[in-house]
Symmetry: C2
Subunit: 250 residues, 2 copies
Amino acid sequence: MVNSKKYRMCIAYDGTRYSGWQIQPTSDSIQGVIEHALQTLLKEPVRLIGAGRTDAGVHALGQVAHFTIPAHLECPRIIYALNGMLPYDIRIQELTPTLDSFHAQYGARTKEYHYHIWIEKTMNPFLRLYRYHFHDTRFQLPLLQEGIKYFIGTHDFATFANLGGSVKSSVRTIYRISLHPQEGGFRLEFEGNGFLYKMVRNIVGTLLEVSIGKKQLSAINTLLEAKDRRYAGPAAPAKGLFLVKINYSN
Amino acid sequence: MVNSKKYRMCIAYDGTRYSGWQIQPTSDSIQGVIEHALQTLLKEPVRLIGAGRTDAGVHALGQVAHFTIPAHLECPRIIYALNGMLPYDIRIQELTPTLDSFHAQYGARTKEYHYHIWIEKTMNPFLRLYRYHFHDTRFQLPLLQEGIKYFIGTHDFATFANLGGSVKSSVRTIYRISLHPQEGGFRLEFEGNGFLYKMVRNIVGTLLEVSIGKKQLSAINTLLEAKDRRYAGPAAPAKGLFLVKINYSN
């Protein structure tokens, strides 16, 4: 009988040149690159289960994944060896043994995403891959702040979900959307019990249309009630989005 | 008689994919890219004079340059148009008319450079192009802090200058080298009346050798007295270095 062990991993990555988290047959995914490094190192096939499937170009500061393997691992040595093999835009931050009952995806209680917007005229060249440059003279912060309130709480977010997800229900709860000023603009922090495919980017896209008067505040309720993706605004670009933290119950 | 006007420009750039500031016949330089954009826009040949010739891979937050042109320029419109033409890793931050007597290079009173070092084991993947990752278990901050003191003041820095500069004297004055803790490590801020070719990177390279006990503190004086580049340690990599500010008398 093989006495398998479960390990939990925390990962940061710059998503710029990847097709997203999830492994795909024809392109470079974060999951694929890490699985390949683990397999080379441990000489065992390894399947990573990630907490959140970030899209192409989306970044992560605190992605969580788990994997099961027959061998006992010396975690500090494995982190060091993995980071030596991985490209510099993917870094393993933590690796710890975990309980058999832990599941990176199903065990997640809440997830936190940040969306970063640069509203000033001239972009900082060092942040060009990590901010959405949205400079519009019609921009009104109070409109955006009002718009945020419509999204907090439990809603059917079907209008704000792109097709491509595999979930049964499109009802989710957003506990918090907060706005934090920072160099050149602000970030929106989202915390919820789960997010549908492109949901954060679709909400941000609609909030920005509201902020420049292209959509009325009252339209947000209509959009939520429509439950139809075709009515929402365009998704905000991937590069402004960061998966920041996954919170677990235990 | 043409009534020429002089303009002063402040520029930020990510030096990662450039051969440096100075125009070169066969490769992409910051100066070349901006001159080309200016020429396309103004339909006049334009020669930029930069304050500091940053090397390949060195970044700038506050490079200053001047140029002279017969036409009167509407500065805000020109900045906007230039940034529209330039690649996203080069941004014009300011453009203002200046006195005929202004000279970006010869008028500079002091220059400030920052060198950023990441000493923790695991690098932040978003800073990989802007930090020198120097993780060494022998590292001792007090040794580095002692070493700094040897470089402050007026010295002949010939040992710390690579060949390739075109200056007559290698005597320079460093007014300040200060150490500032920051995420993952620290930065060294240098302010001086001028810096020789690769001087900051050579000083940092030697300071890091001192910090891990590879060179004795007392060796620094010997090195300065030798006035011979062959005795110094290796230059620290370009990616950690930022030209931050040029200070002028007026």
